[in-house]
């Protein structure tokens, strides 16, 4: 991961010095850890009774339900932003000026706005304009899709630009129509290329779906908050730790998949 060429391979003296520093750092880290544990213990955070709550079936099933809701939002958003992003990328590469300019504005404008604001645009704006109501699930998904469509479009465009020009030229020479060239020649290659990108997109969306917390879509973070409200403040840290661990595990699994995919496809 890190460039190892940065320094010479350490000799005996450097190794001894490194060992010494490692020991010093370990002592310092240990001291900080002990201080933190003592501090937490003095607030009764570490009382075993509070942590047993995480093994309670109701809490566990609530957290897992929250996790499923998070994954549902993330999955739907990624698929939709993939489709929208593809169309915007095609628009961005189009020779028709109005299409090109519109998609460019779309990308630049949406990339500069907070996801939370886009979610609110849908959540409050959609009912205000149409008079119809929108569920928190779709408001969250639509906001995330708006935001992610811009970065998806850029990923697609990079994928298309990276293809050798001969691919589409050959298709034109053979008399294959644009749509078919796209469907059978270009897209399969582009998708292969941006697959790792897609998985890291999934990580981003999974984390961003925690914004559902704000509009009241019961995903993992809001489940945790509700559990804390219901059970009481002494369970705040254990439950938060459970929520955080679930996020970290899901995201690490997805990142690992992304690394494996990019190695496979390279």
């Amino acid at each position: 991961m890190m460039s190892t060429e940065l320094f010479d391979r350490p000799g005996p003296i450097a190794r001894r010095r490194a060992r010494l520093w490692t020991a010093a750092v370990a002592v310092a880290a240990l001291a900080i850890a002990i201080w933190a544990v003592a501090k937490l213990a003095s607030q009764h955070v570490l009382d075993g009774n509070n942590w047993i709550v995480l093994t309670h079936p109701d809490v566990l099933s609530a957290l897992l339900t929250g996790l499923l809701a998070t994954l549902k939002v993330a999955g739907v958003s990624v698929v939709l932003s993939l489709v929208l992003g593809l169309f915007i990328a095609l628009g961005r590469m189009s020779k028709r000026r109005w299409l090109n300019v519109t998609s460019r504005i779309w990308i630049e404008a949406l990339r500069g706005l907070p996801e939370l604001l886009l979610i609110f645009f849908i959540y409050l704006g959609f009912p205000a304009v149409t008079g119809a109501s929108i569920s928190t699930f779709w408001a969250l998904v639509a906001g995330l899709v708006l935001y992610e469509s811009a970065s998806m479009a850029e990923a697609f465009r990079a994928g298309f630009l990276a293809l050798p020009k001969g691919q589409s030229e050959a298709a034109t020479a053979l008399g294959v129509r644009y749509i078919k060239t796209l469907r059978y020649i270009l897209l399969p290659q582009v998708i292969r290329q941006i697959l790792p990108n897609l998985v890291s997109e999934m990580v981003r969306v999974t984390k961003a779906s925690s914004l559902g917390f704000v509009i009241g879509y019961v995903e993992l973070l809001l489940t945790g908050e509700q559990a804390i409200e219901y059970l009481g403040g002494q369970y705040a840290v254990p439950i938060f730790a459970g929520v955080a661990v679930l996020y970290v595990v899901i995201c690490l699994i997805l990142s690992r998949v992304s690394t494996i995919l990019s190695k496979r496809l390279a």
Partner: protein, 215 residues
């Protein structure tokens, strides 16, 4: 649009709070990132592990969860601080990991020849780091650092939900009292965020082009 224009003064104070939030948490996160990056390239294996563990853990917890922990849970444990300060703490814990990645990407982009040359000239590790690696690494990482800062600007909006009256929090308060002007208020907020993020994104792209041309 009237409601948005009448409340321009309120928006302005929210905008200034957002800028303060961005500046403070940006500087702290950059310093944190610098420390983490220096750990990551250190010859000391323990420091490298610490840096990697921190990044793996903190980057994968959503920003909203970081702010939730700082602003909801810490006060339950007896920590007393303003929402503003706690929001800065939460954003810093999260973004230090991203700034570290930005700095590292700049350092990794340094040509191998630079390091070989500095070794051939007999520079010590510390000299290589201070005279060769950091100056070039940091200037390489200007575009990713700007992009990370743009992401930080967008994340500060979440603080608005947790009681900090920055731009987004101001918008929520104004929407509460003028619910007929929802769209205008949201458009105004969007414009104010774009005023920060779009020029910054253009600058990052321009610098990136310049760097690729010159090298």
């Amino acid at each position: 649009m009237n409601a948005a224009i009448e409340n321009l003064g309120t928006f302005w104070s929210g905008f200034v709070t957002t800028l303060g939030l961005v500046a403070l948490s940006g500087v702290f996160s950059f310093l944190g990132g610098l420390v983490l990056a220096s750990f990551a390239i250190s010859t000391n294996p323990l420091l490298r592990r610490i840096s990697m563990a921190y990044i793996g853990l903190m980057r994968n917890i959503p920003a909203a969860a970081h702010l939730f922990f700082m602003i909801f849970i810490l006060p339950l444990l007896g920590v007393k601080a303003s929402f503003f300060a706690l929001a800065i703490a939460g954003i810093t814990v999260y973004f230090s990991a991203y700034y570290c990645e930005a700095i590292r990407s700049g350092i990794n982009a340094i040509g191998k020849g630079q390091l070989e040359a500095s070794r051939a000239l007999g520079l010590k590790n510390r000299q290589t780091l201070l005279l060769i690696v950091l100056p070039q690494g940091l200037s390489n990482s200007v575009p990713p650092l700007i992009n990370t800062t743009i992401a930080l600007v967008k994340v500060t909006a979440i603080a608005g939900v947790f009681g900090v009256t920055e731009l987004f929090g101001t918008m929520l308060q104004l929407i509460n009292v003028n619910d007929s002007a929802v769209i205008a208020l949201m458009v105004m907020t969007a414009i104010m965020y774009s005023v920060i993020t779009i020029p910054a994104a253009l600058a990052a792209a321009a610098i990136e082009r310049k760097v690729t041309f010159s090298s």
